[in-house]
Symmetry: C2
Subunit: 207 residues, 2 copies
Amino acid sequence: MGRTSTGTKEKLIETARELIWRESYNAVSVDEICKRADVKKGSFYHYFPSKAHLAVEAMDAGMQEMKDIYDDIFSPTRPPVERFRLMAQHVIDHQKEIAAEYGHVCGCPFAGLGSEIAGQNDVISEKVADICVKKSAYYQSALRDLIAEGRVDASLNVEAKANELFSFIIGQMIMAKIWNDLTFLEKNLERGIFDLIGLKMNMREAI
Amino acid sequence: MGRTSTGTKEKLIETARELIWRESYNAVSVDEICKRADVKKGSFYHYFPSKAHLAVEAMDAGMQEMKDIYDDIFSPTRPPVERFRLMAQHVIDHQKEIAAEYGHVCGCPFAGLGSEIAGQNDVISEKVADICVKKSAYYQSALRDLIAEGRVDASLNVEAKANELFSFIIGQMIMAKIWNDLTFLEKNLERGIFDLIGLKMNMREAI
DNA sequence: AATATATTTGACCGACTAGTCAACTATTTT
DNA sequence: AAAATAGTTGACTAGTCGGTCAAATATATT
C-alpha cells in the first residue's frame, strides 16, 4: 500500500555501482549519485541510512551478478581446465566492455573498494572478504577436479593454491587499471593461472 | 638566504605518507595532514601548489626508501633464489611493523594509491606505473640470473614473468589488507613466487 | 470518499573541503 | 643597519560534504 516506487532504489544502486567503480568510494559524493540517478537527496535517505549502506547494497547487487556468471563458468559439467580458461577470457572481455563504456580500465570493483576502505568501514570490508571466500570456492572445486583427473598432484594444498590464484588475478587487474592497458592481461592472465596451478603444458587442453 | 626552514616540508611529506597509507588519498584532508604535522595551512601551500603535488612528492620519498632496500635485497652478489626469499621475508616483516604501528595491515602504499586514483590524476598514475617498471627490473635481472644458473629454462619470457610475479605480490598484499591478516602472506607468498617462476622444489635453495 | 501509508520533494543544516592572501617573522646579503 | 628574501601564520573564502526534516503527493485499503 501507499505510493508506488518509480525504481528509485534500484536507480541509486546501479548509479552507485558505476560511479564508485569509475572513480572511488571517497571520490563520489551522495549529491553526485543523486544527480546522475535523477533522484532527490531526500529519497536517497529514505532508502539508505547512509552512503556506506548504499555501498553495501551496491556490492550485494554486484555479488549476485557475479554469482550468476561464475556458476555457469565453473559449472561442474565443464572440464576444470576449461573453467579456468573461460574465466580468464570472461575477465578480459568484461574489462574490455567496461573500458570502452567508461573510458578507462576499471579493474575489480570489489578489490578496489576493499583496498580503499579496509580498516575504515568494517561492514564493507567484511562484504569484500565474503566475496573472496566465494571466489575461492570456485577455484577450490575446480582444483579438486583437476586432481581427480590426475592432472595435478594430490598433495596440492587446495585452499592455499586457490588463494594464490585469487591474489594473482586481483593483482593483474590492478596492474591493468593502473596502466589503463588490457594487453598484458591478454598476454599473462591465462598462462599465469596455469603456471600457478603447476599444470604442465600438455595438461592445459581440455582434451 | 631568508628565514631558515624548521623542516616543515619534510614533516608534511612524512605525515602525508603515513596518513594516505593508513586511510586513503581521498579520505585524508589537507587540514588533517597539517594538524598532524603541526603545520599551518599557509605553509602547506607555500611548499605544495596542491594536495596532489604533495602526494607525488610523498611517493618520491617512498620510492627512494624502497630503492635503498631493494638495491640491497636484489644485489647481484646474492644468489637469485635468495633474493626472492629475502624479498618475501622483507615484505612480511615490513607489513608486520606497520600493522603493529598503525593498528591495521596497510598493504602496498603505491598500489593502494594507484588503484584509488587511476584515471583521475595522471601524474600520480604515472608515478605508480614508474614504480612498477622499477620493481619489474629487479625481478627481471634475478630471473635472468636464475636462467644463467640453469635453474630456469632459457625459453622463459622474462618480462612477462616479472609482471606476473609483481601482480601476484600486489594481489597478496591487497588480500592481506582486506582481511587484516598477515598469516597467509606467511603461508603463501614465498611459495607462490617460486611456483610462478616454475622453480622445482629442489631448485629453491641457494646451494 | 475517507483514511492510512509509502514515496517523493526541496529547502535546510553545521561541518568540512581545497585553496588564497596579506601580514608577520627570522635569517642572510649588502 | 638596511634591504632583500624565505618561511610562517591565521583569518578568510566559496563551494561541497553527509545528513535531516516537514510538507507534498500518489497509491492501496477501508
